[in-house]
């Protein structure tokens, strides 16, 4: 199967064979073509060449419905549940054909009976927006199983789950596959999942199939080599011991509500010292986003104090500048940039109105802004056609670098970062982590929100766990145990609703 987008060859002559009852992993780093492959299989993209053979019959899949009829199902990286509907409605929706009039009593009964045979259950009347990420993922999987799929593909299914939830779900799928009822194709970039659960593995790199093996016959080193090719795997970033500094950023009893007016952050108190990275672990949707928004002045807190260097911090532009507070928000293209402006302008958002960049107090000195952009592009290795290019013409990694350049080039005293490496390839990820550590070594106080436990364990000096809007656990870097942290991320081991 092959597929090109413009000049980019996303998929280059990839062939796979999946046996009934197989648990087959497709491994590759971001941009290796994994998602393109499944989208071609499911009929979301028309492949430029190639086709499927199911039970010896050749098929050209034109749309997802045709794929569904052949028994193919996909659990997407991003949820495709309908947010304002109940779990039951979402289960029924996938049926093809959908009955003209739905007999809800009968449908619910069938769904209940089906759930009894499953290792976990979802309350049928729960509205999807009220479910935690792990529950949504389970519902996605339930939905596919409910529809009697023969081949179930999962695109990075564990990115929103705690380690324990991920293990539970993958283990369950492995058991179902072992019965021979279902073939599972797991798309992932996590070696651990492949080694622990998959029977076979295909490795993609740069759109090509670079290796296939039985998991039992291959070791981690070999997999890593295949996944990343010859390029050296960057080593862990350098950490320097730093002497204890005074508290730089402090949050006291902060309470904030989410878009649905429910309490999202519940009396949160924390303090970050200079030269320290304080990591906040937690499954998405436990109030991290709201807390970052409050710190970024995008959301009004209901109660509580934010202090920087001991003084009350009201989040005005003057204060941000005076105290050196910077932000790496999630999804920077939407949240931290103006996508239709040029790279020059985006790099100048923090300081276009400073004395160096204005004349007579109101006219911008474009030459100075251009010079600043050229210097930052060079220093941070932003790959851009020209400084005048619109920001949204850059790739995700380069947008991230541009934001990093803007936020880290100044005198950083406090840095708030949320999932700074999501969606980036390996090289960009390690570069960003190295820059965060460099800022820490330089004495900045860094509050790092991340859903990736490995990232926190690599970077943070201390780790807090946020659950249902509260800080429920704290551990130092040395005593950090991923299972203990994971247990608190899913507090009390029960799947509770996000409030």
């Amino acid at each position: 199967m092959s597929k090109s987008f413009g000049a980019v060859r996303a998929l280059d002559g990839v062939s796979l064979r999946i046996a009934p009852g197989a648990f087959h992993a497709i491994l590759g780093e971001n941009g290796a073509g994994k998602s393109t492959l499944v989208k071609c299989i499911m009929g979301h993209h028309r492949p430029d060449s190639g086709h499927l053979v199911i039970d010896g019959m050749r098929h050209d899949i034109r749309n997802p419905r045709q794929a569904h009829r052949l028994g193919l199902g996909l659990v997407y990286q991003h949820f495709t549940l309908v947010p304002n509907m109940t779990a039951a409605e979402n289960l029924v929706l996938g049926q093809d054909p959908l009955p003209a009039v739905i007999d809800w009593d009968e449908a619910r009964e069938r769904a209940e009976a089906f759930q009894r045979g499953m290792p976990f259950r979802i309350e049928l009347d729960a509205i999807v927006t009220g479910l935690a990420a792990g529950e949504k993922q389970k519902l996605e999987i339930l939905k596919q199983l409910y529809l009697d799929r023969r081949v179930l593909m999962l695109d990075e299914p564990t990115s929103v789950l705690t380690p324990a939830e991920a293990d539970q779900i993958l283990g369950m799928l492995r058991d179902i596959a072992a019965d021979g009822r279902l073939s599972v194709i797991l798309i992932t970039h996590k070696l651990r999942e492949v080694l622990a659960f998959a029977g076979n593995v295909s490795i993609l790199r740069g759109g090509r199939l670079v290796g296939e093996a039985k998991v039992a016959e291959i070791d981690e080193g070999e997999l890593t080599r295949l996944m990343f090719g010859q390029k050296a795997v960057p080593s862990a970033a350098m950490r320097r011991a730093s002497k204890v500094q005074p508290v730089r950023l402090e949050i006291r009893n902060l309470t904030a509500r989410n878009d649905k007016e429910l309490i999202a952050c519940d009396r949160i108190s924390l303090a970050v010292r200079g030269g320290e990275i304080l990591g906040i672990a937690g499954v998405a949707g436990n109030g991290q986003r709201e807390l970052v928004e409050v710190l970024a002045a995008q959301r009004e807190p209901e109660a509580g104090d934010i202090r920087v260097a001991g003084a009350r911090y009201r989040r005005s532009r003057q204060e941000m500048r005076r105290y050196g507070v910077f932000l790496l928000t999630e999804e920077p293209l939407h949240n931290g940039c103006v996508r239709a402006l040029s790279i020059i302008d985006n790099l100048a958002i923090r300081n276009f109105d400073s004395r160096d960049h204005t004349a007579l107090g109101c006219f911008l000195r474009r030459k100075a802004l251009r010079a600043q952009a050229i210097a930052l592009i060079e220093r941070f290795g932003i790959r851009a056609p020209s400084p005048d290019a619109r920001l949204d013409t850059l790739s995700g990694g380069n947008v991230q670098r541009a934001v990093l350049a803007r936020e880290l080039s100044g005198r950083v005293s406090v840095l708030i970062a949320q999932n700074p490496c999501v969606g980036l390839d390996f090289a960009a990820t390690s570069e960003i982590r190295a820059r965060l550590l460099a800022a820490r070594n330089g004495g900045a106080a860094i509050l790092l929100f991340s859903e990736d436990l490995d990232e926190l364990i690599e970077l943070a000096d201390r780790i807090l766990v946020m659950f249902e809007g509260r800080i429920v656990y704290e551990t130092g870097r040395d005593g950090a145990d991923r299972h203990e942290i994971g247990r608190h991320m899913a507090s009390r081991q029960s799947w509770r609703r996000e409030s």
Binding site: H68, H78, V82, N84, L93, P97, L98, A100, E261, E300
Partner: protein, 309 residues
């Protein structure tokens, strides 16, 4: 002295109720239609123009054919055509539904006024009234309870739509498309096709609402006939939280507010007539302020709506 003034405060109340029953019908039809359209994830602000086109064409057809009901039907078809036009324009890449709606609002109003010039003088057969007040001998009550079959149809349509949205294939597909276009695509539904159908159907109902204006109450054709009712009905959908049953209450509330001015005037309160006449507009403003917040999105709003993104 009118009958209402003899009854005093009761008279005003009866007149307001009667007004509510009469005036609310176009609100009800437009808001039910708009609820359907918005449930599919699109806003059609052009319904004011659709209302005018419906009123004009319904009146014209009634005049030409002699059958008011045939006029209502044709008004619905004209409304559906306007809805489909909106949908067709919105399905083009990078076209914004709000902008298209405003353009169609102005276009529809202008076209109706232009084509309707010869219709101002002649008198077309109007829709019959059902005298629900036959049991009473208070003339004010009798006239208040003279209602039209379209109101009953509208009130029956609301629970039908409510049921249909929850319990039928089409209802489920419509809500899916309106709530998550991604999910709809993943399930293999045609997002644009569903929205086109929903906008067309919304236009059909709005057209019928227009025919009510020219064929029952006020029952004539003139240029200021709709006076913003189509736009207010869009507000009403927000107030009704995208729920057809609530549309009935909201429409009655707006209808009552619209009837306040004339009712007070009939009761002899002639001062501040224009102020009372502005009641529905003030109500619209208050509702908009009440239902908006800097902190949360509108509850119940379909997630795909441009206004809730």
């Amino acid at each position: 002295m009118t009958a209402a003034s003899e009854l005093g405060a009761w008279g005003v109340l009866i007149a307001v109720i009667g007004g509510a029953l009469r005036v609310s019908t176009p609100y009800l039809f437009v808001s039910l239609g708009e609820t359907l359209t918005e449930k599919s994830g699109r806003v059609n602000l052009g319904l004011e123009g659709t209302l005018m086109m419906g009123a004009m064409s319904g009146y014209g057809v009634s005049l030409a054919s002699g059958s008011a009901w045939f006029g209502v039907f044709v008004a619905g078809l004209v409304g559906a055509a306007f809805g489909l036009l909106h949908a067709a324009l919105c399905s083009l890449p990078r076209v914004n539904d709000i902008a298209v709606g405003i353009a169609l609002f102005i276009f529809g109003t202008g076209l109706a006024i232009y084509l309707g010039k010869p219709l101002i003088e002649p008198v077309a057969p109007s829709l019959p009234a059902i005298p629900l007040g036959f049991w009473s001998d208070v003339p004010a009550l009798r006239s208040a309870l003279e209602i039209n079959a379209l109101l009953i149809l509208g009130i029956a349509l609301a629970p039908l739509l409510h049921w249909g949205l929850a319990n039928t294939r089409w209802g489920l597909i419509l809500r899916t498309v309106g709530d998550s276009a991604d999910a709809a695509r993943a399930l293999g539904f045609s997002v644009n096709g569903v929205r086109t159908a929903a906008t067309g159907l919304g236009g059909f109902l709005a057209g019928i609402g227009g025919a009510f204006l020219s064929l029952f109450y006020p029952g004539t054709w003139n240029e200021g006939l709709s006076s913003g009712q189509g736009l207010m009905a869009v507000t009403l959908v927000i107030f009704a939280r995208w729920e057809p049953i609530n549309c009935i209450y909201a429409a009655l509330l707006f209808g009552g507010a619209s009837a306040l001015g004339p009712a007070l005037q009939a009761a002899g309160v002639t001062g501040n007539y224009y102020l009372y006449g502005a009641a529905p507009y003030i109500l619209t403003l208050l509702l908009l302020i009440r239902s908006s917040s800097t902190r949360h999105r509108l509850r119940g709003a379909p997630s795909e709506l441009t206004i809730s993104k």
